[in-house]
């Protein structure tokens, strides 16, 4: 569905992406992990058409991305500027749904059910500035989920929520991917999380970033916060991703660069 080939980007003289190639199949959940500042957000913004990369190619559903594609949603990293402060949480979630041709009541229902999914059923009338950072982030996730895009981009979406909520949201994302046929590209700097949620984990190097490894997690779709994390496969993969992120080399050459 999404194919990125040799993506290069520089901010002025500063090269951030040094030729990133990766592809995401329809319905897949791919997590991208890499050290902070390596260009993950830059990669995502290029896919969303918010930034014109210096070089390389991005194909989405068979067409090159030139402007912002339809049917795509994003959860920005900077949640504090992501919601409109002049609207309540429910209206923030409901506003994009106008485009989907839903009437007022249906928009409201969809917004309420999305807020419910992220555990904010009672917060619909609150304004963003009346909420904690974690709550704002969840509203922003709810907005993206309610929109039902075919491609969902998430930039470190669980950065400021507490541990318990984080686990719930990870499971929610897995669930949504499985049941609504969404394709998800999720960026994180958390190694454990990248393995837990991903069908595949793409590890980026320090900038200028290239793909250091592209690993299949092979953990199946039904995952459990405790049981999955105890699996041998999980533990080994987490250790390997950890080494790669720190700039080391893989100990299991067979699984490296195993692109689909």
């Amino acid at each position: 569905m999404l194919t990125i080939t040799d993506l290069v980007h520089s901010y002025g003289p500063h090269r951030v992406l040094g030729g990133v190639s990766l592809s995401v199949a329809e319905g897949e959940l791919v997590s991208v992990v890499g050290p902070s500042g390596c260009g993950k957000s830059t990669l995502l913004r290029s896919v969303a058409g918010l930034l014109k990369p210096s070089g390389g190619r991005i194909m989405l559903a068979g067409r090159p991305v030139e402007r912002t594609p339809d049917d795509l949603a994003i959860v920005f990293q900077d949640y504090s500027r992501s919601l409109f402060p002049w609207m309540s949480a429910a209206n923030n979630v409901a506003l994009p749904l106008r485009r989907k041709g839903l009437d007022r009541r249906r928009r409201r229902e969809a917004a309420m059910s999305a807020l419910d999914q992220v555990g904010l059923a009672d917060a619909g009338a609150k304004y963003p500035w009346e909420m904690s950072g974690g709550m704002q982030q969840r509203v922003s996730i709810a907005r993206a989920l309610a929109y039902r895009p075919s491609l969902l981009l998430m930039d470190e979406p669980f950065g400021s929520v507490d541990a318990q909520t984080r686990e719930d949201l990870e499971d929610l994302v897995l669930n949504v991917c499985a049941h609504h046929g969404m394709t998800i590209l999720l960026i994180t700097h958390d190694i454990d999380e990248s393995v837990y949620v991903g069908d595949r984990v793409v590890v980026l190097t320090r900038s200028p970033a290239v793909v250091a490894a592209d690993l299949e997690t092979r953990l199946g779709r039904s995952r459990d916060q405790i049981a999955t994390r105890q699996l041998d496969a999980f533990v080994r993969l987490r250790a390997e991703v950890g080494r790669l992120v720190r700039g080391g080399h893989t100990t299991e050459p067979t699984s490296v660069l195993e692109k689909q």
């Binding site: 912002t68 949603a73 500027r81 402060p85 485009r99």
Partner: protein
């Protein structure tokens, strides 16, 4: 508690009034009548009407009515034009480059100087008066709106783009609310300017209104009446500003909330 605190801060007003009364009585200058005489004249001229009309006399309606009508129609007309133009200019860097020199020139011209020009161009009375008010008041509204529309948070615009907002939605739901705090600052400044220009327009190009009454009383040596007009204008300015702040506080509640927390 709030009321008591507010009253506590008002003690200077009676002190000044008493001092003024004492000094003017001692000086016995016809040009400086004591405030008691001024207030008595204001009561006779404007506020001794029947209760059914909120105590307003015919004189009050004749003086205040046309003035307020001019003030508000001029201000509202300018608000609509200024905000619309400001948003357009703020959203388009190219348009902004074109019109910026004109704006800088226009706002540097002191509006009272244009009264003779408007008088020559338009008819004496309402058209020339409105033109004076609009021309003088538009600059703070226009410049503030341009500034507000230009400084919309980039991520808010990106959100609009991602979720495919139509241009109307983007303008109405994103750009305008973002610019609203600055627009309100401009509108408030414009309101006080509109009062000043209303008086000037009535003095130079009027046949009725408070400004005209001010000129008339001064020429007829009716100094307590003249001072009454000045006091009335001061009170009017104060009331307009307070009412505006009240509205602003409601409309921009989100802005105050957001600023408190960040």
């Amino acid at each position: 508690m709030k009321v008591i605190a507010a009253l506590g801060r008002l003690w200077l007003v009676p002190v000044v009034l008493v001092a003024w009364e004492v000094v003017t009585r001692a000086a016995e200058q016809p040009f400086f009548p004591p405030p008691s005489a001024v207030l008595a004249r204001m009561y006779e001229m404007w506020f001794s009407g029947p209760p059914s009309r909120l105590l307003l006399t015919d004189g009050a309606l004749a003086d205040l009515g046309p003035s307020l009508a001019r003030l508000f129609s001029g201000w509202l007309l300018t608000a609509v034009v200024g905000v619309a133009a400001g948003i357009a200019i703020g959203c388009s860097p190219r348009l902004s480059d074109y019109v910026n020199p004109l704006i800088q020139f226009g706002r540097a011209v002191p509006p009272p100087l244009l009264v003779p020009f408007f008088l020559a161009l338009l008819k004496l009375g309402t058209p020339a008066q409105l033109a004076t008010i609009v021309f003088g008041v538009i600059w703070p509204i226009l410049l503030n709106t341009v500034d507000g529309a230009r400084t919309v948070d980039r991520q808010h615009l990106e959100t609009a783009r991602i979720f495919g907002f139509s241009s109307v939605q983007r303008l109405w739901r994103v750009v305008l609310p973002s610019a609203l705090p600055k627009i309100f600052a401009g509108l408030r400044l414009a309101l006080s300017l509109a009062l000043i220009l209303m008086v000037i327009a009535e003095i130079f190009a009027g046949t009725d209104g408070i400004g005209y009454r001010l000129l008339y009383t001064q020429r007829s040596y009716l100094y307590p009446d003249m001072w009454g007009c000045i006091v009335l204008l001061g009170v009017l300015g104060y009331l307009l500003n307070s009412a505006f702040l009240l509205v602003e506080r409601r409309v921009l509640a989100w802005h105050r909330g957001a600023r408190r927390t960040t």
